[in-house]
């Protein structure tokens, strides 16, 4: 693990940093205000939960509304390939809490919910203990709320719905959480890594944050590296680092890389050759129409069957549909079944053209973006593994029925 900013300080083996050690190392946090929102905008910080939305814009949209706001620090981390949020919460709980407090002060919120995946035991424990170490005035404003272990529980309307009704399923928009969230109040739902960055930017300024990036990018980014690498795990790298540099940090590729899954189950495959020199810059990738998603970098080696791996991911995404919207529930089931048949080299008549048709049909037709994420993933598989899909389909699977 590298230790640039968020993970600077004691080694991971030391576990959660105490409030005393945190304050000694970084100094007391400043008070959050509107000026901090300007600073965060100048820093160029974008959200690290997956959508890469500008953090300053999000805070401002909540700050400009009337009525006691609520902050949800989102550490649900339902993405199966991601570990970075739970690692951050387990090792630097006070940085996350600082960020949540600063956000609450900046947007005028009185209540903070630390929404943490209930399966991420060390993160839940670290945040609960950390909260107990804070001054009473701070501890009284926040509480830890375990999130159900589903993929969509971290979607922001699902987080709000869970607080309001106990059901972690997305709701139709509008209203968005910043308009009408917890108990009808304007609500900021912000990923825990984004909040931790804000806690450092508040202390050190926007110029400091920008200076951490390379190749024109700003700040650092937490990544979860997995698959065919020697040392899988969480790394913190300068934003703008290339995929090759990140894979070197993870001990290098085992075998020969065929493709890299960037951004996790909602991300997409890119060929290993294209990935190598690609700059991992959340803001730059968003501007280019791509996405770093939640920072997953997973390597598929030549020996693995890309269709089998892709089919398993589609099965997971289909099962994780909240089953509220027909096009998502039935569409992803159909897409998953056809992908699985192709991966088994036993396609039904026309399975391959059906995948293309259904993918286009499902896109944009859910209350949340779950179907869109699943379809984007599948379309990347169809493109990067086009020869494999064509071979698996054969004459029968390629026929247009």
């Amino acid at each position: 693990m590298t230790h640039l900013a968020l993970l600077a300080g004691p080694a991971p083996a030391a576990g959660a940093e105490s409030f005393a050690d945190h304050t000694r190392r970084l100094g007391a946090r400043p008070w959050g205000n509107r000026g901090l929102i300007d600073t965060i905008e100048r820093a160029g910080l974008v959200g690290r939960g997956g959508a890469s939305f500008p953090v300053g814009v999000k805070w401002r949209s909540v700050a400009e509304r009337r009525g006691g706001a609520v902050v949800i620090a989102n550490g649900a981390e339902g993405e199966p390939l991601s570990r970075k949020d739970q690692t951050l919460m387990a090792l630097r709980p006070h940085l996350v809490i600082d960020g949540a407090m600063l956000a609450a002060e900046a947007v005028g919120a009185k209540r903070i919910l630390l929404y943490v995946g209930e399966a991420h035991g060390s993160a839940v424990m670290a945040l609960s203990r950390a909260l107990a170490q804070r001054p009473a005035a701070e501890a009284g404003r926040a509480r830890v709320l375990p999130a159900p272990p589903s993929y969509v529980a971290g979607e922001e309307t699902a987080a709000v719905n869970f607080v309001n009704s106990g059901v972690a399923a997305p709701t139709a928009i509008p209203p968005r959480p910043f308009e009408q969230g917890v108990d009808g109040h304007p609500t900021l739902v912000q990923n825990v890594e984004s909040l931790a960055h804000a806690a450092l930017i508040a202390r050190r300024g926007d110029a400091w944050f920008r200076s951490l990036g390379v190749n024109g990018a700003a700040g650092t980014v937490l990544l979860t590296v997995s698959g065919a690498v020697a040392r899988p795990g969480v790394v913190e790298v300068a934003s703008g680092s290339t995929v090759d540099e990140v894979l070197a940090l993870a001990g290098g590729v085992r075998g020969t890389a065929r493709a890299v899954l960037l951004g996790g189950y909602f991300g997409g495959w890119i060929t290993a050759r294209q990935a190598g020199t690609m700059a991992l810059d959340p803001k730059g990738l968003r501007a280019a129409g791509g996405s770093l998603g939640c920072g997953v970098v997973s390597v598929l080696d030549e020996a693995a069957d890309p269709l089998d791996v892709s089919a398993r991911i589609m099965q997971h995404l289909a099962n994780e549909s909240a089953a509220q919207c027909g096009p998502c529930f039935f569409g992803l089931r159909s897409l998953s079944a056809a992908t699985t048949r192709l991966a088994g080299r036993q396609p039904d008549l026309g399975d391959l053209p059906k995948l293309h048709r259904w993918a286009a049909m499902v896109k944009g037709r859910g209350a949340c973006r779950h179907p869109d994420g699943a379809v984007a993933f599948l379309q990347s598989a169809l493109s990067v593994f086009e020869p494999e899909f064509a071979a698996a389909a054969g004459a029968r699977g390629a026929m247009v029925p």
């Binding site: 139709a172 919207c325 027909g326 039935f330 569409g331 049909m361 037709r365 209350a367």
Partner: protein, 66 residues
């Protein structure tokens, strides 16, 4: 025309009553043409909205183009 996808249960009445803008996908759920509905079709659109058994459809006013 706005749809609450979490409510829609594929009763399919809307596509019968307003085929000019609504067709069905392979699973029986409505695909609604994007963009504003021409004034001449508004009665059809309203009929589709009123007939939805689960009240999943609504018409929303859009700003008139200058």
């Amino acid at each position: 025309m706005w749809i609450d996808r979490t409510k829609c249960d594929a009763h399919r009445l809307c596509a019968e009553l307003f085929p000019e803008s609504i067709r069905l996908d392979d699973w029986g759920y409505p695909i609604i043409a994007s963009g504003p509905i021409p004034a001449s079709l508004l009665p059809h659109a309203q009929r589709a909205v009123d007939s939805c058994p689960v009240l999943a459809l609504a018409l929303r006013r859009v700003a008139r183009r200058a």
